[in-house]
């Protein structure tokens, strides 16, 4: 299964990935609407890259079975089924299921690879992991 891999030491907090993601999925440049979010933190290495690792923990918390694994292994959210309860947001161990008041449903990384292609430093990249 492919996930967005990360090397936080390389990240220069340029915000390109956030812009790419939110532009593509929300048609606006707004980091709060990106499924990958980078931020400065006090602990080493000074940067946190928050992006879904496709662990699947959220799936069992969804009351309407709107979350599932696609054939590729990626965890996907079916907006038609989702009733916007945000239980998945609360359940995600890494807080990588995002939400925004303009959006009824939460959103997450679906490993589309768009952001990784634009990252100037290879702080993020596509990685193959065992399911």
């Amino acid at each position: 299964m492919k996930i967005v891999g990360k090397n936080e030491e390389e990240c220069i907090l340029c915000g390109t990935c956030e812009a790419v993601c939110s532009e593509y999925y929300f048609k606006e440049d707004n980091r709060e609407k990106s499924a990958i979010q980078v931020s400065e933190i006090d602990e080493d290495p000074g940067v946190d890259i928050n992006v879904c690792n496709q662990c699947g923990e959220c799936i069992r918390f969804c009351p309407v079975l709107a979350l599932s694994r696609a054939k590729s292994g990626t965890v996907i959210l079916n907006k038609k089924k989702c009733i916007a309860c945000f239980n998945c947001v609360g359940a995600c161990p890494t807080e990588s299921m995002f939400y925004h008041e303009d959006a009824v449903n939460p959103f997450k990384c679906i490993a589309c690879a768009r952001c990784t292609k634009e990252c100037p430093t290879e702080a993020i990249f596509m990685e193959e992991v065992e399911l």
Binding site: R60, C62, P63, V64, I83, F86, E101
Partner: protein, 718 residues
Amino acid sequence: MTISVEDVRTSRKVLAEMDYTPAKIDKGYAGQSLYVNLSEARIEPKTVTQEMKDIFTGGKGFGLRYLWQAVTPDTKWNDPENEIVISAGPIGGITQYPGSGKSLVVTLSPTTGSVIDSNVGGYFGPYLKFSGWDALELQGKSDKDVVLYIDGDKGKVTLEEIELETGASHLISEVLTEAFAESEEDKQHISVVSTGSGADNTLIGMLNFSWYDPRRQVVRMKQAGRGGIGTVFRDKKLKALVVRFSGLTGKNNNPADFGKIQRAGVKIHREINKFDDVQCRMRQVGTANLMTVMNDYDLLPVMNFKYGSHPEGKKISTEVFISKFTQNVYDGCWYGCSMSCCKAVDGFELKTGPFKGEKVVVDGPEYENAAALGSNWGIFDPDFIIEANFYCDTYGIDTISTGTMVAFIMECYEKGILNKEITGGLELNFGNKEAAMELLHQLGQGKGFGKIAGLAIRRMKKVFAEEYGADSNFLQDIGMEAKGLEYSEYLSKESLAQQGGFGLANKGPQHDEAWLIFMDMVNNQIPTFEDKAEALHYFPMFRTWFGLQGLCKLPWNDIEPEGNKQLEEANKVPEHVQNYVDIYNGVTGKNIDKEELIRQSERVYNFQRVFNLRLGFGRREHDRVPYRSQGPVTAEEYESRQERYDGQLKELGFDIEGMSTEDKMKVMRKHREDMYEKLIDAVYLRRGWTNDGVPKLETLKALGIDFPEVVDVVKKHL
């Protein structure tokens, strides 16, 4: 006993119908309510007035308002003008905050003769609202069994005759869900309200509210249990209510500020995810997490509330129920409840009764059920409890009343007040599982001694005294009912505040108004009468608010945020109170604070007290409690906790040297009963009531509920 979906579909015969355009929900309100007269097969919409929203808020408030208008001071529970009102409240139906899908049910109770209200999960209330109706009023009586169907998708209400030849509520829910759903996917959009044969045969019938569980692929049910609402339902010849609504998005309330609700929701979801496993473990075992704690603190009712613990209690401990419940699944009774306490036992094979040998999914047992149908009968067998729970539910009888009244019967049996001749051969000693289960089936099927048991404790006391010559004072002492309602399952003997919590509750002794035992007895946080009175004002008012809004109480304090314990008002869980203020404002666009929240409740709470008065109750004499709830009635109880009781007497300055147990019990009783009276004085004062428990005119005025019709009632008692 099986009924086929095909039979249901082909037997539908429409008696009345109404087409409508579902109202668009505006900030939590549809602005319309649905009135159905069963005598006349008449269906009508009503407008929800601004006064309704401003004064009565919603949910239970709407139920009380409509019921008040429907009945007279002389109305009895089985008169046609009695109504069953179901309403969800303005917050009801949001999916972002845990515990936001409750329906509130109000009617005149067969056992108390006064107003009863019940707060229940399942999808009915929210779907009703999203189908365009803030409340449903059911009045009159049909002459044949009927089903009411509300199709919120098509905008159609029909009153129908449907052949449903079963008295098993779980089958009714199942078959109606299948028959009305257009596909497997559509089952989630259906909710059924129904009851079972026990509601035809007893006064403690309840209502099951269903939802479809897509993981287990079964219909599940939650209960509007207290006070015989199911009995009223069957008296009206209602067989079921069905609602269908498929358009759930999470924003159906059309809230004023979605972000506010979303933020509060995410915050508490994260809290639950982080702390539930180390706090209450609601997600693993639901309210049955209390089993071990209650037994440890001598609070678990054992053998008709004689004792608070039992060495065999470990056989029905929290851990035992964890092992019975299916783990790691979403178990909310409405969408989005991250607290997910509605645990279930899957694939349970029944050993008795009409479904013997069948494998079923059993909802619960919750704490109340495990205590009521287990320890209170001197039975410490989890499988017995699960089976009894299943049958209570499908027969449509209240587990709490069943538990408390059978416990009463068992004590009467052991005392020789009842014998095998009277019970038709049942040896109803504490701990006799076969006899207890047989009595449960008799209750459900209206057979044998079940017909007397089904009258509930207040009426049984009369029968036992008049027909079997029992000492009515003794029956009054051990019969755990007040106002005609059976006690819920906590021992209040050592907590004066909780004695008041039970005794002063508007509908009768149910713990949903106040649960103060730990605060009072264990942590000693409310030592004076004034402290207790303040707690008996604040908490009942605060908790009433859940019933106005369509909310569940559990996510308020069965999860606590980090650092809550260190706060001065930790018992109130201030951060969660603020969440409630936020989600209310987020839905309605208003700008209330935590004080106005309490005032919303005070209006409805006082209105309910006046409603009781109007029906001939609601005064000090009606707040009396059985002595079993206050202290040891028998020598065996006293002597079982002799050290504790002797110590207390010494502390009070009694010289107990040479006193017999009887003498000690006498002085203890005098003291405890005096304390209770003093407590009541303090609470009435704090609530703005007279010494007879009547709300003062200035109290009504300050709350804005001094309508002429309300003042008229009160004036007679001032």
